[in-house]
Symmetry: C2
Subunit: 544 residues, 2 copies
């Protein structure tokens, strides 16, 4: 019997003091609970993803000093901690993504990651040499196959790598697999992860402990959900989602599957991930207060609700900035929302500044019909007023653009595209409505009028989104197939979509890459978010 | 004797029609000149880097259809063209980065790239499976070791890869190496490239043909400089830098080294790269006209000169936007510059719009001392006026921030940080002065007053950059060591830098990652530019 503690923690990248403190605290707790072994997640010492900090030898030194400090308290217990380590050979990349085994006050073994994810948001081959020497670790005489995250993911039908580390390790006849991970959230990832882990237990016929990160790192959210699984792929211990957690399992006795708990719906998960994303963006940078423009539309209403949940009523300041083109309802609905949430708001009308801009540009614009330039001026005045408030009072500006708008470039750069973090930039407009329903589940927080009105930017009289864009119920499914599923025009038309509509949408997406390049980081909740996970040339002629 | 044509061309990513046209045109010319073989560069069919377009099977299909079309005209000649190809095996990534050998009207052989660069701006392991089967190609009975770019780069002292493809290929006793490349410019790259290629010829004892891209792809500039080298590492044919070029070499006869031509100075190269960068950003998107803010400082003066050189006098519109804090000289010096260049300009004063903003915010800002918020409002008004002009008249806004400012965050997001492309964002302030000298080499184009005045943002009375920042001659060397050389604080202090200064600068760099995230793409001229080549977390505590 082996008593193993699982510490699912929220780390801050490069905050060695805090990360080490948390790790040591958990080791003390595990000792108090008489655990033989405690497991932490992938690269827990540095936080994940450390990105190009890994190119600084100073950073690597600090990681390894931290590891030694952690090892020094591992007396009467073994700990597994993730840490970048130096490749001693001259050939190959300079680093490994490793797991240290710490026992008797020192580092006693080290395992390197073999399969380096380098797709979507992942860049691991940028830094790390893949492992090519395999061995199991030993804890209290038990042989354990220790792997790191992606190492277990090569069991899919179209495997991304030519070989799997477990195929090597299983030859040593280990009794247990342990996998330490930094596996980011998307709304479908928990199921996929469980299925991948279950395939492994069945394929190799031994139980598995899986330890994941929790918490958000700028745009990437880690959802936790660490678990123990028996050799039949049944979950025997399920740790919390979206929260830190600590469990002690007795791995060679308690193999009984637990009853499946209530699983969260897709929209519940997105909701929880966005709240955690906002929270960690603020708290990890010691920010407390958020500001945002509240237009009377559904997007800014949703972001106001999520921010209030994440940061508290006293820390969210919506600003209403009506113009001559704003409907009266835009103001009154927004005020009603703030009252429902119990938060204060400011009203700053923009008409006079707008008039002064037009006057200032009257020489240059003489004789020309008002158009996009004038519409964008209004959006940019709003962005500027919010940034002025942000600069004056130390609020961080929340961006309220949704994924549909960002995809087709229906937004003003330096206007409504401003912000420190984009909250719903990975949520399609049709999903924004689902979020609204979710928020209003128990009582009407978002006034119904905000949900039912036709979407409008209100930058000219009577404007509707549908003047410029296909209706969202037509737009979103095609965007999803193009962005998430990488379906090209022929496949999209072949699937029954209108050819002209497909061409129009794909062209909009591709010619707006320049706007997305300057978009704030977007909290990632889908398998393919704009930002680090989707990298396209700005200057290019494909489908544009 | 083998007669080989080298076609150094400027491709557009995803513009299959244009790329194929160019390639076929060169094949026709090579045939007319009785060449046996014509060589094009890496991924010439798709353009480089195609990034995530590679994830679309439609894109790959089009590449391969284009390759077949090219092959169909290869009658009486063999062509080597770069193209992404499909990995037929289920294991491993779905694609190879390949070179097709086309002869007798069809594709007769294919070689895959083995070493996949995945550092700095490169992401090749994101898409491609490394090759592991090696063979030489044969052209007119001559055995040739064909490799792709990075494949020859593992001869450095700290090799990044565990093995080199040439070590395999040399066993077949080839008589010639051909390397097709997409090797991006930085100011030191031409020398490094020559030294790497020369190492290869000496190590393997056979001559080498090297064929590179030319032209800019958004922020990445390819400088051409293709060449032939004999087995002693001496250059026997040197093709042009920064221009398309076409040469026919007789590889097994003409081994005589050419006399080394006049090499370009570092600043000449930077100058040429920036002009090419502007030109291709505009022309490849069918833009003609540029707009920019001309402040009276050296940065915007330089960008005005470079843009005029790249786009022509009639296509550059500087806008002077004086405020109450602008000196008279800022206007008169700017006007003098425009006269020297023979270009028109606009003057749009910002005082009234500024006053209206202050009035609009008077409730919120009541009783508070003016500060950063008010300074940023001025910078943002300028950004907005430029964007309004851009929207109205179709000019593309050029950003004029330099690398020193961008590094320490001395700039206003959505203000002077606006723009479609950043021209000198990879040029430190001290190098900006070198560019000015270069531009004024023959006659004074930039008025001397612009060069000699103390740098100032002119956002409050008497403001100087040195109020907020270390002097540039102290700042830039530390930035260079930290950014280009990845030296940590201890190394920097160990090298004799003041500890407090180092700490201050590193903190400024690290806490301004959020601003750089929203910066326009920056023309890359150094080995480590901000943007794709430098990826750091926004939320993190390392040295901040």
């Amino acid at each position: 019997m082996l008593k193993i503690a699982l510490a699912q923690l929220n780390y801050t990248i490069g905050d060695f003091e805090k990360n080490v403190f948390k790790i040591k605290e958990s080791i003390a707790r595990a000792k108090a609970e008489h655990a033989d072994l405690i497991v932490f997640s992938e690269l827990c010492i540095s936080g994940y993803p450390p990105r190009d900090f890994l190119e600084f030898s100073d950073f690597i030194d600090r990681c390894n000093k931290a590891a030694e400090e952690i090892a020094s308290v591992c007396v009467g217990i073994t700990a597994i901690v993730g840490c970048p380590t130096i490749n001693p050979k001259p050939e190959g990349k300079n680093l490994f993504n490793s797991a240290y085994v710490c026992t008797d006050g020192k580092i006693t073994d080290v395992i390197h990651k073999s399969l380096l994810p380098n797709y979507d948001i992942f860049d691991e081959y940028r830094y790390f040499e893949p492992n090519s020497n395999f061995h199991c670790i030993s804890v209290k005489g038990k042989k354990i196959a220790l792997t790191i995250c992606e190492d277990l993911w090569n069991v899919e039908d179209d495997p991304m790598y030519v070989s799997s580390p477990m195929d090597e390790l299983i030859r040593e006849k280990p009794e247990l697999m342990i996998n330490i991970a930094a596996s980011p959230f998307d709304y479908g990832h928990a199921e996929k992860r469980k299925s991948i882990l279950s395939r492994n237990t069945k394929q190799y016929g031994i139980p598995l402990l899986y330890l994941n990160h929790v918490g958000a790192q700028t745009e990437i959210v880690f959802d936790g959900g660490s678990m123990a699984m028996n050799e039949k792929g049944e979950v025997t211990c399920q740790m919390k989602y979206f929260e830190e957690d600590f469990e002690v399992v007795e791995i060679f006795t308690a193999k009984t599957p637990i009853l499946a708990g209530k699983t969260m719906s897709k929209i519940d998960r997105i909701h929880a991930a966005l709240v955690l994303g906002i929270k960690d963006y603020f708290h990890k940078q010691n920010f407390t207060k958020a500001i945002l423009g509240l237009s009377g539309g559904i997007d800014s209403a949703i972001v106001t609700c999520l921010a209030t949940e994440a940061l508290g009523k006293e820390n969210v300041l919506p600003v209403l900035m009506p113009s001559q083109y704003s409907s009266e309802e835009s103001v009154s609905d927004s005020v009603a929302l703030c009252k429902n949430l119990g938060i204060r708001y400011e009203i700053i009308p923009i008409e006079k500044v707008y008039a002064e801009y037009i006057l200032t540009l009257s020489n240059q614009f003489k004789g020309l019909t008002p158009g996009i330039a004038e519409e964008n001026i209004q959006a940019r005045i709003r962005g500027m007023l919010l940034m002025a408030m942000s600069n004056k009072f130390g609020h961080i500006l929340l961006n309220t653009s949704n994924k549909s708008e960002i995809a087709v470039g229906y937004g003003t750069l330096y206007g409504d595209m401003c912000g420190g973090i984009s909250v719903i930039g990975d949520v399609y407009k049709t999903e924004v409505y689902d979020l609204a329903k979710n928020i209003n589940m128990e009582k009407e927080i978002i006034p119904d009028a905000i949900i039912t009105k036709a979407p409008s930017a209100e930058l000219r009289p009577g404007q509707k989104d549908s003047d410029s864009l296909p209706e969202y119920h037509l737009l979103d499914p095609i965007l999803y197939q193009y962005i998430e599923k990488r379906k090209g025009p022929q496949e999209l038309v072949g699937a029954g979509n209108d050819a002209a509509l497909v061409k129009r949408i794909l062209k909009l997406v591709n010619t707006n890459e320049y706007k997305r390049y300057q978009t704030p980081p977007i909290l990632r909740v889908s398998p393919k978010a704009f930002g680090q996970g989707r990298r396209l040339p700005i200057v290019g002629k494909y489908l544009s």
